[in-house]
């Protein structure tokens, strides 16, 4: 007996605690189901990695019936915005260290590069780099 549809449910966290225990116990001893699980996981990951499509130009045009602000109120808002920009600008200029963007794949790469120096059983050490 194999897991069949339970593999999909398991990946979607749609199984209860007893089913989860059953699935995990079966996976530990069934190479065929482990392969199927691995294939399903890879397939889902690839779907998740599909690029997001940009909407065509004009599709997100604002509604035509937006009421414009009255000019006096607009002038006040512009003045307030200018003041806020000035304050924020000063704040940025005195703010301390800035964050350098961190990439998880770069972090994993660097960890695995160091781990690869240790002797033997390299196959175990390099697995972290996949599915970063």
């Amino acid at each position: 007996m194999h897991l069949g549809d339970l593999i999909s449910a398991y990946l979607d966290s749609q199984v209860d605690a007893s089913e989860r225990t059953l699935v995990e116990a079966h996976l530990a001893g069934c190479e065929e189901c482990r392969s199927e699980l691995a294939a399903a996981t890879v397939g889902r990951k690839r779907v998740r990695e599909l690029p997001l499509l940009e909407p065509p130009p004009g599709a997100l045009r604002p509604p035509a019936d937006v009421v414009p602000l009255r000019s006096a109120r607009r002038r006040s808002l512009v003045a307030a915005a200018a003041m806020a920009t000035l304050v924020v600008g000063v704040g940025f200029s005195v703010s301390a260290e800035r964050a350098v963007p961190l990439r998880l794949d770069a972090v994993v790469d660097q960890h695995v590069a160091r781990a690869s120096v240790d002797p033997g059983l390299n196959v175990l050490q390099v697995q972290a780099v996949v599915n970063r």
Binding site: L27, A38, A99, R103, D109, H111, R114, P119, L124, Q127
Partner: protein, 304 residues
């Protein structure tokens, strides 16, 4: 040469593992093979698995998976894709040794070795921690089992296919660009020991410092970075309570666990292959998640 040196050092330190393990490590590093490997990990958020193609030659290992191909070994990490090559190289590192809390023994208790292979068990106290089934000729690990502290399986990997490798070297290093070199550096807040792991080396890293910890069997790195970092997107990973603290974000992949958290002053990313009970023990010795006070938060909200 390296192993002779390591063996001498371990003897002096009195932490000599079983001689067969040293031989096995040596043989496994030199083995040349191609294979396909399945890795399954039972993380706290569910099971994750992948299948990868592996090619090992000359001390370097090429892993091909859904994210592309990588060549790793001897402190180098080379990633090739259509747009070019990324080449990372680490500064020289300390010698390897096995934590003396592990006990290495030949064979699986009560089970005969499978034909053409040998088995090794590693126990932490009386608890089973790892099992390896190695190819009898090359010591290539055919199956590995890593157990958590409660005795249940945490990670399982097995070679679905394995065979001898033939042909030229995988990479022509003459064609490589200049490596992105990582020098030694000092972390400000990371201790030199966590759990039973010790900090082996520290390196510069993008936006911070990497501290590499090991116990000889498992290994992890702590990246200490600016508090404003998002941990490379890990702050979107599932929130987790680990040990006595919430405030962590944890992501399991088949080969590693990654954890991100912020303290009052800094942010940390942990990446490694350690089992869950070790992870909890390690995190309890590291700066815990925390918040800055109200005034600091208001300043950061206003000015970044």
């Amino acid at each position: 040469m390296i192993f002779a040196l390591t063996l001498t050092l371990m003897t002096l330190l009195g932490t000599l593992p079983a001689p067969d393990l040293v031989d096995d490590l040596d043989d496994a590093a030199d083995a040349e093979f191609i294979g396909r490997q399945l890795v399954v990990c039972w993380g706290a958020d569910g099971v994750v698995a992948h299948v990868t193609d592996i090619e090992q030659s000359g001390g370097m290992t090429m892993v091909t998976g859904p994210d592309g191909s990588f060549v790793i070994g001897e402190g180098k990490m080379i990633e090739q894709w259509a747009g070019g090559v990324r080449y990372l190289e680490m500064a020289p590192s300390s010698d390897w040794r096995l934590w003396d809390g592990y006990r290495v023994q030949e064979g699986l208790a009560g089970v005969a070795d499978p034909a053409g292979s040998r088995a090794i068990e590693i126990r932490q106290g009386e608890a089973l921690r790892a099992r390896f089934v190695l190819d009898g000729a090359t010591a290539t690990p055919l199956t590995t089992e890593i157990y958590n502290g409660q005795g249940s399986l945490y990670r399982y990997s097995t070679m679905l296919e394995v065979g001898p490798r033939q042909g030229d070297t995988m990479l022509d290093m003459d064609d490589m660009p200049e490596p992105d070199h990582r020098d030694h550096a000092v972390a400000e807040e990371v201790p030199q020991a966590a759990g039973h792991y010790w900090a082996a080396d520290s390196y510069s890293a993008p936006g911070g410092v990497q501290v590499f910890f090991t116990d000889g069997l498992f290994r992890f790195s702590i990246f200490e970075v600016n508090r404003k970092s998002d941990g490379g997107g890990l702050n979107d990973a599932p929130a987790a309570e680990i040990g006595r603290h919430g405030g962590y974000h944890r992501l399991y992949t088949p080969g590693a666990v990654s954890v991100f958290w912020r303290t009052a002053d800094r942010a940390y990313v942990l990446v490694g292959d350690l089992p869950p009970d070790h992870l909890e023990s390690v995190l309890s010795d590291l700066p815990p998640p925390g918040r800055t006070n109200v005034l600091k938060r208001a300043w950061r909200w206003a000015f970044g």
